[in-house]
Amino acid sequence: MALKRVEGSREDHNDEASLVVQSEKDAFEIGVASILIRLISRYTFGESSSVKVETASNILNSIYYAIDVYNASLSKNVDCTVIEQPTTTDEMYKRGMELIEAYVEEARQLYTEIFRDKLNLPLEIYNETLMDALPAFFKTYDITFAANNTLTSMDYPLVFDDMSKEGILYIKQWLATLKIETQFCKCLEMDSVIEFLEAYGHKYGFDYKNMPINLFSVLFEQSIFSVFSGHNEVGLTITTSDFNRISFYVKGKNQQQIQNLIDLAVKQIIYKFGIINSELIEYMNRYKELFLVRVVNSHSNDNLSQMVVIDGFDPYLNKIIYTDGVSMSDKQFRNVINQVKACDKVSDKTRIVSACVHSLQDFIDLLGAGCFFDDEYIAVLGLLGDSELAILGEMVFQEELRCGVFKLLPERTSIFKQNARAEWQLNYIDFIFDLDLNRRKIVEELINEITVEVDAGKV
């Protein structure tokens, strides 16, 4: 009996507690709803008593964002002296809005500093982000009705970018991270950075000026390799003999040993550059983990040279350069498409292709023009010789070729297909793996030897 009474009182207590929780929840909901009503009236300048649900939802998300910002600030200040805490939803919202205003001001300050110390480099994406995207954000950021929005085209990639954040919290962390990355880049001579970027672009076959390169990661990695090579000064120039020393230095080391080498190199970089900013040091140490995995992988695949930009190394040396022939005019091309589309028999289609198409670009455009179906691709690809197939392979296996020596391994078919960007590329992959082994080997060798010089944007 006694036990039952105790249980009964606990149940009563639980009921009471859940009632309290429910009434708090109700009060919160009613509080949010009245803020929402107030803001909707403000949004319509009191002229309209209704809005689309979508508009109201956006405003509601903005309200929750402000309350979340306030709550997040409480959890940060948990060890601080007790400050009087707001009791109503409205008060929480007001405090959140005050914080957002303060964060916008902080972000503006941060932006001004970053802009003042901007790297003088011809990197389009970096410059556009700093000169256009961020000012546009500050100009359009609406703290009342869309505080959670981050509508901006900041395309410059950072190594550690916390995309889970929204609104001004995202921009603030983005700017703080860029500031840290920039501090490292500033340790290097800008002339040598430009020289390095040119070599980097040449190595990977693109124009570095309009590629979304993260400057910190490429410069930091090259600096570590520069320490590995035994240079007294940390720099970006690594010669072939330096690289041979790096290979020797890393040779036969296990993961732990490579990690120790990286730790040592980073300490040396910090010392040589006189870095004392703890945030930057922490950032470099954080990046080491990512770098280690890549070095270990490259090392085990005997492919370390892919990670290092070697001075004077010409990636096109000993390669066959293919230069494309003259393309048809748009009118001629349209005629060929119409002729091919009008054919019922695949043999007629291949006859037209053989007679009219004399440039690789035209051939690829035709493959992508919806003129062929299923087995017809196989028939058209069957018109090509080994070299032509290899040239198409350069396009299809672009990603894999960046990673060094390329192999046509049947077990990688599904990965190749995942990277395919067009229907003809999928059919090409099937076609290549249907070739007899000897011919496939010949095409594979040619793919590794040929370099195609066509307008990459058209492919």
């Binding site: 909901e29 009613i30 009503i37 002229e47 309209s48 209704s50 689309k52 979508e54 109201a56």
Partner: protein, 163 residues
Amino acid sequence: MSLPAVFHSLDLIRTENRIHELLLCNEVLKKQGLVLSFSDAEEIMAVRGRVLKNQERIELDINVSKTLLYQMAQSSYVNPENYVATVNDMYGIFHYIKNATSDLVSDEEVIDAIVVYYNQVCGGSTEFLMGKGIEKILANYHQGRNMTDIINEREEIYWRLSE
């Protein structure tokens, strides 16, 4: 928490008050020989809920419903038999136009337009107003004219020809 949840908590408290608020309109309506019963008020509230749900809109008060009750009571095309149904149709038309224009267009402007078109163009037919009437009102809005403007079609053709 979703938007409907926030408003649901308020609506539960407010529905009864709103019916009472609508019934207070009878003070004015009786001068026009019209009376709103409790079930009429309930029906207006039910239709309001359906329209807002279908048109995916949120409304903060019932001023639009009240204004339509007063405005339609003055129409020569309205009688006690078709009064509530007409008000309900006009309410649906109001929110359709709101969705097709902007949240920032004032309630007054839209109400004026639909009432003018109902009385002066559509001959008291909400069906006609729902078709051609809405089309004309929206054309006024998109061409930067006053939404209540009535442009005679013949006149329109004349001006187009002289251009």
